[in-house]
Subunit: 187 residues, 2 copies
């Protein structure tokens, strides 16, 4: 079974409340539709600020969500001087405190995580690919630095379509890039 | 079989000629002995310059060698705007052109590579661990982002001792760090 790969650079999800603090009443515009239906790269960027450093031009993804979350790589976390936990999206237990800086204001809260590798899938695709009752899979990257990623979480929703998400550390280490077809291996 | 891990940050090896261009007659001092016998982190740093960017404070490793080589990660290569090949150390075929900047001069030449994952081993250790006649192994990283690295080259020399070298992309992606014990898996 092969699926398309998306390598996620550091990015931010915002609640409506935090969005208003950062950008006021300006609408959140679409720059590019993402593979997951309804999700988009927006026309808004923020800075991520810690005591150690400020990272400029971090993209806000849309639409707005019920939680504010900053997704970084381990490499980013060293640069920022924070120690975010490895989490599935939306699970902010123990997340690292950062300040999100927009043109109109700032938000400081525990919201930074390193996202688990995960496979987006619809219920129908899960059935069709024999992955019902399976929580995790492995993924094989065939490249000059061939790599097997274990503990890849399956995330099912009627709103999802088949796509594997990894971060830039995993992508760059294995020489994999957005749009590559990668191999799913069952446990 | 378990071996100790060394995660290599970007670094530079220099010939005596290039060293003199950059630093003149100043001696190359030892800051810290590395795991490989005779190798050391030196008291000298250079900048790596490309058309796109300059990376400051890149460590020179000693002793001096018969070739000048800049080892970067894929992440570094994006920042620098270069496309270095994946190579074993000392194989500079197709390497990317960068400028190495020292306090007294600069050297511009094709010398930048992304190093293959590799296992240092002595002839005796190779025999003792049943790895004679084997070119490559796999390595398992047990972490919250468990990973198997394939195509890990075995580098044998009487001057080496057992140690696995990976770069910061592989280290950060798999949450592995210098000093970890990691598992060698045979093909």
């Amino acid at each position: 079974m092969e699926v398309i790969l998306g390598v996620s650079n550091r990015h931010v999800h915002l609640t409506e409340e935090d969005y208003k603090t950062l950008f006021g009443d300006e609408p959140l515009g679409v720059v590019k539709e993402l593979v997951q239906p309804g999700q988009f790269s927006s026309d808004k960027q923020v800075a991520i600020k810690t005591e150690k450093r400020t990272m400029e031009k971090v993209r806000v993804l849309g639409p707005l969500r019920s939680y504010t979350q900053v997704e970084v790589s381990k490499t980013d976390s060293f640069a920022l001087g924070i120690n975010p936990p490895i989490r599935n999206s939306g699970d902010l237990e123990g997340s690292a405190v950062v300040t999100i800086v927009g043109p109109l204001g700032e938000v400081t809260k525990p919201c930074a995580i390193i996202a688990n590798r995960h496979l987006h899938i619809s219920p129908e695709q899960r059935v069709a690919n024999g992955l019902v009752g399976v929580d995790k899979v492995k993924v094989k990257i065939n490249s000059e630095k061939a790599t097997i990623f274990e503990d890849v979480w399956i995330k099912e929703s009627p709103d999802y379509t088949l796509e594997l998400h990894i971060d830039t550390d995993d992508g760059n280490g294995s020489l994999a890039k957005t749009g590559d077809m990668v191999e799913i291996i069952r446990y």
